[in-house]
């Protein structure tokens, strides 16, 4: 007679690692890191210049803008949503930032964040209250955002970005590009929020099983609005950095940024179905894309060929890292 009738439960997975983790969970955590390391090693072998500090900083600088966007996108995708409007937020923000430079640096920064927030809020409300599918809502917002940018700028670039602003977006602090500093800071913040705050847990819960989360007392609608708001703010910030780097405001800015951001998130191991993934993974995903671009440049490969190769490498990375459901 057993002391506990449940001792004979059938486990269909081998929980071999501490605290009950299975192989699948471990692979998920470290798989993409392995891919990244392999890529770094390959790059170092293929180009002597790769590991030079100047080059590494360069890579980081190039991925910072889409990287910041990807951080916000991670939260959205974790709730099983998507945000296609991020690129148009960048466009609108560069145009408005260039246009209102006379307000001074800080007010312009706030304006950019406000614009991003407004668009994110509209996305969130439409998706959470209006129950519109994220794909459609953010698609529509993308049209609206870019349309507004075009309307406002008449399709022409807007000049007049002041030195202080350029310093903000394109300057250096202690030898490190500002944009990299912003990216790293937001990265650390995002990791902390996802892992160590109640909000982070709610995001994961909503993505994992929205109804169960609701029946556990999670305020699902509020969480959804919050993640889209977050994505909007991050995109707005990215737009500010970009404006500083470009030196002009232009409605064509940010084209294709949404796909770059989504690619970074997905390569980083976050599932489009939501419920699991990591912010650090997104960083690695962005880094993989960035290193790939860098490698192709260093090897002198025709820029026209690069897109082609980039696509192949994205596919390869995802294939290697795919989850076995």
């Amino acid at each position: 007679m057993k002391e506990n009738v449940l001792a004979s439960e059938t486990q269909t997975e081998a929980p071999a690692f501490g605290r009950g983790r299975s192989w699948a969970q471990v692979m998920e955590r470290y798989g993409i890191l392995v891919v990244f390391m392999l890529l770094v090693v390959a790059s170092a072998l293929l180009s002597p210049v790769f590991l030079r500090p100047a080059n590494i900083l360069n890579v980081l600088r190039q991925i910072s803008i889409t990287g910041v966007i990807a951080l916000g996108m991670t939260f959205v995708i974790l709730t099983a949503g998507i945000d296609l409007s991020v690129g148009s937020v960048v466009a609108l923000v560069t145009v408005l930032a260039a246009s209102f430079q006379r307000l001074g640096l800080v007010p312009v920064l706030l304006l950019g964040l406000a614009v991003g927030s407004a668009m994110g809020l509209m996305n969130g409300v439409g998706i959470a209250m209006g129950r519109i599918s994220p794909l459609i809502m953010t698609l529509a917002m993308m049209y609206m955002g870019r349309g507004l940018a075009f309307m406002y700028s008449g399709g022409l670039p807007i000049y007049g970005i002041r030195p202080a602003f350029i310093q903000f977006g394109n300057g250096f602090t202690a030898g490190i590009p500002n944009s990299v500093l912003y990216f790293v800071a937001l990265l650390i913040l995002s990791i902390a929020v996802l892992r160590f705050t109640a909000f982070g847990r709610f995001v994961l819960a909503v993505g994992s099983n929205e109804e169960a989360a609701r029946l556990t007392g999670v305020r699902v609608s509020r969480v959804k609005v919050q993640v889209y708001l977050l994505s909007g703010i991050f995109s707005g910030f990215a737009g500010l950095i970009y404006a500083g780097q470009l030196g002009i405001g232009v409605a064509l800015a940010g084209l294709g940024y949404e796909l770059s951001a989504i690619a970074a998130v997905v390569i980083g191991g976050t599932s489009l179905f939501g419920g699991h993934g990591s912010v650090f993974g997104t960083f690695l995903g962005a880094a993989i894309v960035g290193v790939t671009n860098n490698l192709l440049n260093l090897m002198g490969i025709d820029p026209l060929v690069q897109d082609f190769m980039k696509g192949l490498i994205i596919l390869a990375a995802v294939l290697i890292n795919r989850r076995r459901t």
Binding site: Q11, R21, T197, R201, S208, T216, G217, R219
Partner: protein, 494 residues
């Protein structure tokens, strides 16, 4: 003649032997019941017969020949169909299309012959003694009707063996009659039926013989006439049935939850009831009587048209589950897998989700504190898991249910609502759950329990409220219901 024979079937998973040297035979044309606790190996055995899992040792003989199915399609093609609890029907397609999926009747030109399809589908259902407009989309059909469509599929595949995995888990009494009628028609047709169920009463109604599994071994195979319910339960659990019900220790206090005149459209009207602290109130009724809808409304999961809810005497505006949780109400839902837990998240996250505020210091979660508190609950409820980080989907049914319970205990709720607390859980785990519910009541919580198992309601509840077609039909004390079963039945049936 034995249509299916198992010889020495063994199956091991990492850490546990699910099936040990299982050998028995299933006669052609009989209804053979397979019973056992979760973890007894029932589900694994079904998977082997269905072709989804391969045994490590032993052979399966089908029609006298050894078979080794590589995948479920193999089994189906050879004539063994399995109807799982999650029905494998395409909800957007019509019933007729589902029945003939993969084998549409074609015209000479190669296009689908729709009129013929509908005629054939009606004919198949007719053989099962059922009439239904086969053009309806499956998702517009009730669960009972969908099960019939699945059975019709098996008929079309000319299955000689039909395995049904816990079909009655989701059916009420009336629908069960329907199902049994269909199975009888199948049997007359010569189909062999393997019937898995937890509800021992059904085994006696429908089966010719029954095989009992316990801890991966076969305890015995007997003709049903030679057994009694009590005897069968004993074979399954190795313990006697009287030990099922916990010793009553709780005392009833003030009114914790009261609802007045709650109504929602045609679903339920004018429902009023109350539950006291330390009391266990059973909510009985047939499937479709509106009980789940009422408790969901109390919990804020659905809106209501009229009525009020009072918590400890004060009016409570509950418009979302979040509000309900703040008032100290918890709900253990009917479908724990889909509604009660985040299957792909770790155990610790599931349990702490109801009250994360407990573990927050300076804006951030204190993971160590969280782990300690959750571990205490896990131990207290005796949840068997490989660790706090284990994903909930790897837990057994009983342990998942306890996890749901743990999450509500974490929220310090004073009012706890259970919707079918022991559905799909083996007898052994049931005992644990009953003991836990009793303990919760003894600690002064108000318990409202929906159950469709009469024995369960009579065994656990102090007071029984009966609902019928969306209204309260009547209330009985446990003693009244036990002593006057016919009055109880009258309230249920109307």
């Amino acid at each position: 003649m034995a249509i299916l024979e198992l010889h020495g079937i063994t199956k091991r998973f990492p850490g546990v032997t699910a099936l040990q040297e299982i050998s028995f035979g299933i006669e052609e044309g009989e209804v053979h019941a397979l019973v056992g606790e979760n973890g007894a190996g029932k589900s694994t055995l079904v998977k082997i017969l269905a072709g989804a899992v391969r045994p490590d040792a032993g052979t399966v003989l089908y029609l006298g020949h050894p078979v080794a199915f590589r995948e479920p399609q193999d089994a189906i093609q050879q004539g063994i169909s399995t109807i799982h609890q999650e029905l494998h029907l395409a909800p957007h397609l019509s019933a007729a299309e589902n029945i003939f999926l993969g084998r549409y009747p074609l015209t000479r030109r190669g296009t689908i012959d729709w009129p013929q399809l509908y005629r054939d589908a009606q004919a198949v259902l007719g053989r099962l003694g059922v009439t239904l407009d086969v053009r309806h989309r499956v998702r517009d059909l009730s669960i009972a009707q969908r099960q019939v469509i699945e059975i019709a599929k098996a008929l079309v595949h000319e299955s000689r063996v039909l395995i049904l995995d816990e079909p009655s888990a989701v059916l009420g009494r009336h629908d069960l009659r329907l199902l049994f009628g269909v199975l009888a028609a199948l049997k007359a047709h010569g189909t062999t039926i393997v019937y898995i169920s937890h509800r021992l009463e059904e085994v006696f109604e429908i089966a010719d013989r029954v095989t009992v599994l316990r801890d991966g071994r076969r305890v015995g195979t007997r003709p049903v006439q030679e057994l009694t319910v009590v005897g069968l339960a004993q074979m399954m659990t190795g313990r006697s049935l009287e030990e099922l019900w916990p010793v009553r220790q709780h005392q009833v206090g003030e009114v914790a939850l009261e609802i007045r005149g709650l109504s929602r459209g045609q679903v339920f009207r004018d429902v009023s009831l109350h539950v006291r602290s330390g009391e266990i109130v059973g909510l009985a009724g047939k499937v479709g009587s509106g009980r789940t809808e009422v408790v969901r409304a109390i919990f804020g999961a659905d809106a209501v048209d009229a009525g009020e809810i009072l918590v400890f005497g004060r009016a409570a505006a509950i418009r979302s589950p979040w509000a309900a949780v703040r008032y100290g109400i918890g709900l253990v839902p009917e479908d724990r897998k889909i509604q009660g837990l985040l299957q792909n998240r770790p155990l610790v996250e599931n349990i702490s989700l109801t009250n994360l505020g407990r573990f927050i210091g300076a804006g951030f979660l204190r993971l160590g504190q969280e782990a300690r508190a959750v571990l205490a609950l896990v131990r207290a409820l005796n949840i068997r898991a490989a660790g706090l980080a284990q994903l909930v989907k790897y837990l057994s049914g009983g342990n998942q249910q306890k996890a749901v319970l743990a999450k509500w205990l974490n929220s310090d709720c004073r009012i706890l609502i259970f919707d079918e607390p022991t559905r799909g859980i083996d007898v052994g785990a049931k005992v644990e759950i009953y003991a836990l519910i009793e303990r919760l009541a003894a600690e002064g919580r108000a318990i409202l329990m929906i159950s469709s198992e009469i024995t369960e309601i009579l065994g656990m509840a102090d007071r029984i409220i009966v609902m019928r077609t969306g209204r309260i039909a009547g209330t009985l004390t446990r003693r009244e219901a036990t002593e006057n079963r016919s009055a109880f039945d009258a309230l249920l049936e109307g």
